[in-house]
Amino acid sequence: MKLFEYEAKSILAEYGISVPQGALASSPTKAKVVATQLDAPYVIKAQVLVAGRGKAGGIQFASSPEEAAGITERILDMKIKNLSVNDVWIEEKVNVQRELYFGITIDRARCCYVAVASAAGGMEIEEIADKEPEKIVKILIDPTLGFRSYHAREMARRLGYSGKSIIRLAKVFTKLYVAAMDCDAELMEMNPLVETTDGNFVAADARLIIDDNAIFRHPKYETRFLSEGQTELAPEEIEARRAGLAYVKLEGDIGIMGNGAGLVMATLDTVQHYGGSPANFLDVGGGASEEQVASALNILLTDRRASIVLINILGGITRCDNVARGILEAKKKVDFTKPMVIRLVGTNEAEGRRILTEAGIHVLDSMEEAAQMAVEIAGGR
């Protein structure tokens, strides 16, 4: 789960990391009020959960409360990568001497957390890794030892710091690590972490992604996890999440569902292979019930961009008869219909086929055949 910049910064502040003074505003009027309580000049930042808002004009500067109000109005009117902006964060501009990067994330191959720092901050870390790999300093974190003060100091030293700055900077690093662990962060970064002209270190921007699987340990985010307007998810994605389904909205016209992430991905790939364009990814998971299949299909049927539905079920734990009944149930509830191509094999296959065939739905044997047929039908429209 992604947190907004202002939320991530308030967590940093709780852990004793300096962040610029600032406040949230959801209207130009509010922006003017909060700006008056801060020292100019200001930075006004769209609170959206996608990277790259700077390039999209979502970060602007103002030198008076009036200007702040005007800029806030313009930013609130924007759409950034298809997301509307509900709030801006207004903060005091810091005096930058140097911009650093520091973050904690996961090294999948090494099965551990990794601390990553760079003397070139402000860009996305992937971009730094691409353009200036020699500026990146990494320390793999031994899970039983943790990220220790001396690891942090060694990173500060390797970034080129010396003297008391090593100790000051290292303290900021270790605080971020503790915060990241406490938050079950998948990624927590300060970028840029600004060294100010007076030698302090201030997190000018912060990003925090909490491990979705650990949300149960963070009750205050539990409702947020399922609510709209607070995430970068599309409304259909939220609906799917509430139903316990894995759903990703795409740009095409063939609605796709199946059981098992790999199988659904392969279905998308096969559709694309035959020249079609998937409207979504939807995995009903293992052992899906009639109800889950019905809610899944409902999402596809009500998606206006999907002109046809392709269902690919390989029954293992999932029982084909349950799937068949779920399909009929969903069709009943939605008062319009779409062409459906269904591939259904595996556990209780005969019963499942019988149920669908009796309802006049044609069932295929092979995923490729089904994908090909779906592409043809979609193309014919």
Binding site: R108, A109, D211, V248, M265, L268, L314
Partner: protein
Amino acid sequence: MGIIVNRDTRVIVQGITGIQGNFHTRLMLDYGTQIVAGITPGKGGTEVYGVPVYDSVSEAVEKHSATASIIFVPAPFAAEAALEATESNLKTVVLITEHIPVKDTIQIMAYAKRQGTTIIGPNTPGIITPDECKLGIMPSHIFAKGEVGIASRSGTLTYEIAAELTRADLGQSTCLGLGGDPVVGLNFVDALKMFRQDRETKAVVLIGEIGGNAEEQAAEYISSNLKSKLSPLPVVAFVAGRAAPPGKRMGHAGAIVMGNTGTAESKINAFKEAGVDVAEKPSDIPKLLAEKI
């Protein structure tokens, strides 16, 4: 033969009295897996399908000389269960549970490494050595004994491909589900090393997907180790997720393209550079394999 599990594997089921644990215990028993005990704290002294239930792993291991565990415990308690199994010096632990926080998984893996325990998963369908031992939740009937090793990051896609192989008379030595999480116990390289040692395995299918760089590492391993004329091991690969957009999790916690890393293209190219045939569609795999065995 095959790898990791075989007819001598003595299994305990952790979470045996839960719905999933109970259901799959029956299916595994039906398959012939030697299930010697089950664990559910607070239910010691009861039985499930004739399998005795204990309160703790150490008690069960001691009384039944178990060598492996399969875990169906819900995510919030799964890490404790895995640590308990690891502390009891089991050789193999299959962690079926999905949605375990990655912080917990990291801790499990560190401890397993110290103890010399092999962890399969989490978020895996398990492992099957056809006709010998099924330690997982995969549908049994699609597998047949044979010479092809499978290692996969995906469940149903594996069934799809195993079924295709079986239909083409290409039986399997062992079929190993690595798990769909970002951090898992075994990766493709581990699997390849084991398959290479297994006399029964004559070729390997790797089923990858977007996210991470396990496929790239496998490609590197293959080109430096499995191309030698002395011990060549033919490998065919499939990579799911060409159509996946960046930054979105495709069902599996581990299936996500971050920036430019973890794309299907990168993985496919790495395999091709290592001389590994990459199937366009699952159904192409038997053909590609048939040329090599």
